[in-house]
Symmetry: C2
Subunit: 450 residues, 2 copies
């Protein structure tokens, strides 16, 4: 609530060009809120406001902005202002922004930085998008194993005030390999004279730099970690990923999975900022593919043209029957895809889950058959009711089984189970629905003599 | 990887009843892994293993188990063992477990606890599922405003070793209202003689106890908080929610949204553990509703029976055309529902997004019309090609607009936008698709004289 009030007041102050009020209101907003506000404004107004912030405030606000907004602001800043900003940003956020510039500006920026920062930036920005390396930061705390707890605390006070987090502390050997870790909590609650080696845990969960960011988020979530140390091929520690990054990754991955489930390709940088062309490109692929998948349904219908001509009332039930198979199938596929993604189900559960799905699907099919048989009777008499009810049971069962098995099959083939989207399952279920429905109809009603 | 190796060795040791190996292997697994292992075992084996753990280890492992597994183990433990376990668990996890017992056992458990713990447990377990209160914990650190940083650190060392987190410290007034907060980092990096009032931030983000857990997760994510303080109606601080709870909530909410998008009701406790009846119950509702929604499509077809009889070739294109509208509509709806859920889009963006969707949808429709017009020509000649192409453009556009607008409409009516599931959008798009297709066909081909 407070945010909305301040935001409205700020907009009003901007409209009447009241510099003093603007300045006061800007200081009342938290960095995250300020970023939100800047995103809502037009680029020109956003830039004006941004220029009124102190350098320290700018760096903080910047971290909360999405990539395109960062780039928009950075593009109108001169090299000096940008260098100042970059120096104050967290190492991982700095690298993310740096990657967005063209090669020429990257070179100019690198020249403006101190040697250590330059190397750090070069390294952090070199990891491919989506890897653990691309979200890690290089600011973390290391203490020697033989230091006492009291000295270690003093060491952290003096040397690590800029570390992204001082809450998890690492102990390395001469080859920079991790030999132990302790939390700041353990350091503080431990005996002040105790050596670090006595307080630390030797069992450390770590991850290779080229692993995926999802894997990093999964480890952080599974072991309730505050930070996950990242190691290179030689097992040397080179960075950490923090819990707040994991939160972002989980949200991002969920969005990606939800979009994939509706046959939408990965959208970088959110929906609001996406261009018309980007949206077209991310949506058209599967839509056209599915058109061709649906030709099978059409061909099935063409095959039964004689039956349909003779009993045109059957067409009334066509959408209802084939959609039911698709809907039940989508449910089953969605349950499996999400279960596999969160680790709730595994490949080896397949057999047991298949048995249960058979039970659930028959119960669903029978209920729905009951619901439509009355309608079938009213519109077409006893025989049509029988055809429709029988078809419903089979269509729902086949649809559910297709939906349930497809994600497992895809995983078996080392493809993404999430490709088993609702529309794909629906198309496959539709085609089998057409065959089942008209096949049963032809069998029960008989083919007329034309 | 290591986990799988140890787990296999442990299973082998259990098979040959090698007590010593079991004991050694148990100590090699981390609590989260041990919980994973117990979940995979049969209840009887799981219990046997669990009984071999120390009480402290039990409490830790317990926290990682899902609710049903906790209950299964707790039900075969005697009251004394259970009390011991409860005393060592985190306050929030303890309350979650407590809520699962029947009233009689709850009373027995409460009698076995010390006064303070009893009151705490009663209070924490009284909040409704899904509220901030239901995920908060009551173990947090408070320091007086006039204490020095050095004394505060000593105070924390001595009084708060059991707090769920000591990383965020709160300063309260005499009425228990929050007047400031500081992180352990700020405490340690601050001047040792400085009073807390000088180091603390007065601007504290907090949340009412009856707010939703999603709101809590949203605040933690938005402001990158480690803990979110929870207050009652009188603004008194009564608990905190920690970042790792937020991670769980985000995952849980994403799963719920994904399921809702495929018309599946909320599944408590995951897919694997769900019974056949539960799954039936969570899936049947919308399936039956959608059967009736599809009657509109059927009725549309019945209305155009004469056209269909005359040009039976039209039926070939029916699945392909109406599915395309549904698919484009599902894409649009999914983008909006997720955008609204993550806060990426807001109600007031509606107008701008509508304009863009019109552009995207016409581009999609034209591309797809191109893809099918050839097919239409081959199967039915020039006129059919024209009917199919025209229908495709309109069907895709109308489907997309329905999909895009429905979530906003639902939000306007204070309903959950996520109700605009792919199957619902598909059914509505289907019905309009039937009318468009056969309407255009009748107009262009003309109604034959029967």
């Amino acid at each position: 609530m407070t945010y909305n009030l301040v935001a409205d007041a700020l907009r009003a102050a901007m409209a009447r060009q009241d510099g003093e009020a603007i300045c006061r209101l800007l200081s009342e907003l938290r960095p995250a809120d300020l970023a939100e506000f800047l995103r809502q404004e037009q680029p020109r107004e956003a830039l004006q406001l941004f220029q009124q912030l102190h350098t320290a405030q700018r760096a903080e606000v910047f971290g909360y902005l999405p990539a395109e907004a960062q780039l928009q602001l950075a593009e109108v800043m001169d090299d000096h202002a940008l260098s100042q900003l970059l120096t104050r940003m967290d190492a991982d956020e700095r690298a993310d922004l740096f990657k967005l510039f063209d090669a020429e500006r990257q070179e100019r920026i690198l020249r403006g930085l101190a040697h250590h920062e330059r190397e750090d930036l070069r390294r952090l920005s070199s990891y491919a998008e989506g890897t653990a390396g691309s979200v890690m930061t290089s600011d973390y705390v290391v203490v020697p194993a033989d230091m006492s707890a009291r000295d270690a605390l003093e060491h952290i006070r003096l040397t690590a005030p800029d570390a992204e987090t001082i809450y998890q502390i690492y102990v390395l050997d001469a080859q920079q390999r991790i030999i132990g870790t302790l939390s700041l909590r353990e350091l503080i609650l431990g005996r002040p004279q105790a050596p670090i080696s006595e307080l630390m845990t030797r069992d450390v969960v770590s991850l290779q730099v080229h692993a995926t960011q999802e894997e990093a988020a999964r480890l952080i979530s599974r072991y309730d970690l505050m930070t996950l140390p990242i190691i290179d091929e030689a097992q040397r520690m080179i960075g950490i990923i923090t819990y707040d990054d994991a939160l972002d990754v989980v949200e991002e991955e969920a969005t990606e999975d939800i979009h994939k489930g509706a046959t939408i390709g990965k959208l970088e940088g959110g929906l609001r900022g996406a261009s018309l062309f980007t949206l077209y490109r991310k949506r058209i692929g599967w839509l056209v593919l599915l058109v061709f998948a649906n030709i099978f349904s059409g061909a099935g219908i063409a095959y039964f043209e004689d039956t349909i001509s003779a009993y045109i009332a059957l067409v009334f039930f066509l959408p209802l029957l084939i959609d039911s198979g698709g809907n039940a199938g989508s449910q089953a596929a969605t349950l499996m895809v999400r279960g596999l993604a969160t680790g709730d189900v595994r490949f080896r559960d397949w057999g047991r889950l298949l048995g249960r799905e058979l039970g659930v699907a028959s119960a669903l099919g029978l209920t729905m058959a009951l619901a439509v048989s009355g309608l079938g009777f009213i519109r077409g008499g006893e025989q049509i009711a029988l055809v429709v009810a029988l078809s419903m049971v089979l269509v729902v069962m086949i649809g559910s089984l297709i939906g349930m098995c497809l994600p497992f099959l895809l995983q078996r083939l080392k493809l993404d189970p999430a490709t088993a989207s609702a529309p794909l399952v629906t198309s496959i279920a539709d085609a089998s629905g057409v065959l089942i429905y008209f096949g049963i109809a032809t069998a029960i009603l008989g083919l007329p003599d034309v």
